[in-house]
Amino acid sequence: MAKKTKKTSEPELSTAGKSDHLLQMYRQMLAIRFFEERVNDLYTRAIMPGLAHLYIGEEAIAVGICSALRSDDYITSTHRGHGHCLAKGASPDRMFAELLGKEAGYCRGKGGSMHIADPATGNLGANAIVGGSAGIATGAAFSAKRLGNGRVAVCFFGEGALGQGVLYETMNLAQLWKLPVIYVCENNTYNEYTHYSETTAGDVLARPRAFGIFAERVDGQDVRAVYVAAKSVVDKARNGDGPAFLLCDTYRYRGHHVGDVSREYYRSKQEEQKWVSERDPIKFFGDWLIAEKHADTAQLQKISAEVASNIDAAVQFAMAAPFPETREVQQDVYA
């Protein structure tokens, strides 16, 4: 994968355009970061049942991609899905409620962290089976094309999903039938506790290309680069040019899940530190916004404060919300 990350040049940037749009992306990245920090806090304080897989460090991908989507476009997400759901428009209060198993949650508490779904924002659902949503996303694109509603479907997955054969079966279908689906591979370099180089032979980009699918590598820490790359393939897909594949290089700052705290046996503190200090997508974007005069420090601090209190309120809401009635357990097995 020698191919150098594409520099986002000015003309493309102009596509990203206006300051408010840029600040909205900044706000969303912060919202995801703060949301996840609170998830970790709820876990350590034993308030959240089960586990959660934090998206911290990868925010630029979800935000860059979803900023290029219409609200009626579709996404499918993964076990590490909070960022995707928020970026597609989910509200933190009902997200937290779902994570706590409350009736006010997006799935009435039945789904939890790995299964947030929301028709209102085109979210077909997070999926706890690695690669499990490749078919669903491709099928949503199939519907979009059949029904001629101009929608596009985005399939988010980690590089570990490259190990699932169904991904190749569905990419073949998507290209054969020219379906408007974008496969977004978030390569954070680890499949749980195993480095992806131990699980992934050859050249990742060559895989979709072998099926005739346009594929491009993107710096997953640069929200503008992700947005620009996404905008172009999403527009093409919408215009009937078929599927595309974006390989986004990124890194998860935290453990595979909230319980994965001592990680030295599979990756070094230095490696983590390097990404956190040198490649943080929020800091990188914030600095750029100031440098390019889209905002000043005070504005960014104001946004940060607003997001923080918003997240606080969301946690309060979720903690105060009631659990579903036990009899609900037998509801919604069948439509």
Binding site: K110, G165, Y334
Partner: protein, 341 residues
Amino acid sequence: MSTPEMKTVMEAPASQRELTLGEAIKEALAEEMRRDPRVLILGEDVAEAGTVFKVLSGLSTEFGTDRVIDTPISEAGFTGLAVGAAMTGLRPVVDIMFGDFIALVMDQMANQAAKVHYMSGGKWKVPLVMRTTLGASRRSAAQHSQSLHAWFSHVPGLKVVLPSTPYDAKGLLKSAIRDDNPVVFFEDKMMYRLKGTVPTEEYTIPLGVADVKRSGDDITLVATSSMVQVALAAAKMLEDIGISAEVIDPRTTWPLDEETLIESVKKTSRAIVVDEGYARYGVTAEIASVIAEGAFHYLDQPVKRIGAMHVPIPFSPPLEDATVPTEQMVFEAARSLCRRS
């Protein structure tokens, strides 16, 4: 009661005709595709070839190859695609050629399709039909002869249909297509040419309602799919020795019409359950348990189960024939339960 047996005793009225089970299935698909443009068919060699069993031949001519769609040999892939399509406004009918191949789609069906509605708190629906086959005796050996409907019957969120007559096949398939849940529809390969009367006017048969294929007083024969024909043949043999057998076809293993089964056994006090799946941990176990619990104080003999011999299905004709339940086996079992010899 609605069976060939019944119908053929009378002159079939003008409003009915004889169809094979295969023709009845094709007619159900054609009617639903005419009625609802969201219905489409996906599978291997379904278009011009009309499937390897030729059941769909002609449909691609009427509806075109973008509603009767040939797929690559990617069972998991196109089933997964159908799940997503079903969630977003279409009503796909997926064709899995041989029932043995459902082993390739268990994740898409059991972990995805069956759970989407529940996991989303009731928000997303998956109106998907999977048509596939079951049944041995075709000399197709171990990987093309299995009856694996017990796997799906075990999974909450799925419905499982096993038609035994052309009439039932048409009415049940139309209901399956109109159902908002994932439904798996198992067709016995050996029954495609089975004839039966089917009304010309439209009808549907609700999922979850058993059908008494023949009424009797001495013993209840519960049978699924092609085993219904086996049970009916055995019932005829039993009649000759003075045993009156009631034959009940649950028609769907899920939902399961427990009441009809239990009421019948309360009347007859004896029961045999016949199904072509592997004998152990299969459909006969659930149905026998339901009867044994529901009619316990009425049973004067244990519920007898007859399934396919619990071995991989062999190719060699004399061996394969030994694995499949026969009318003779059902007859013998019934006779001994009724203590006649």
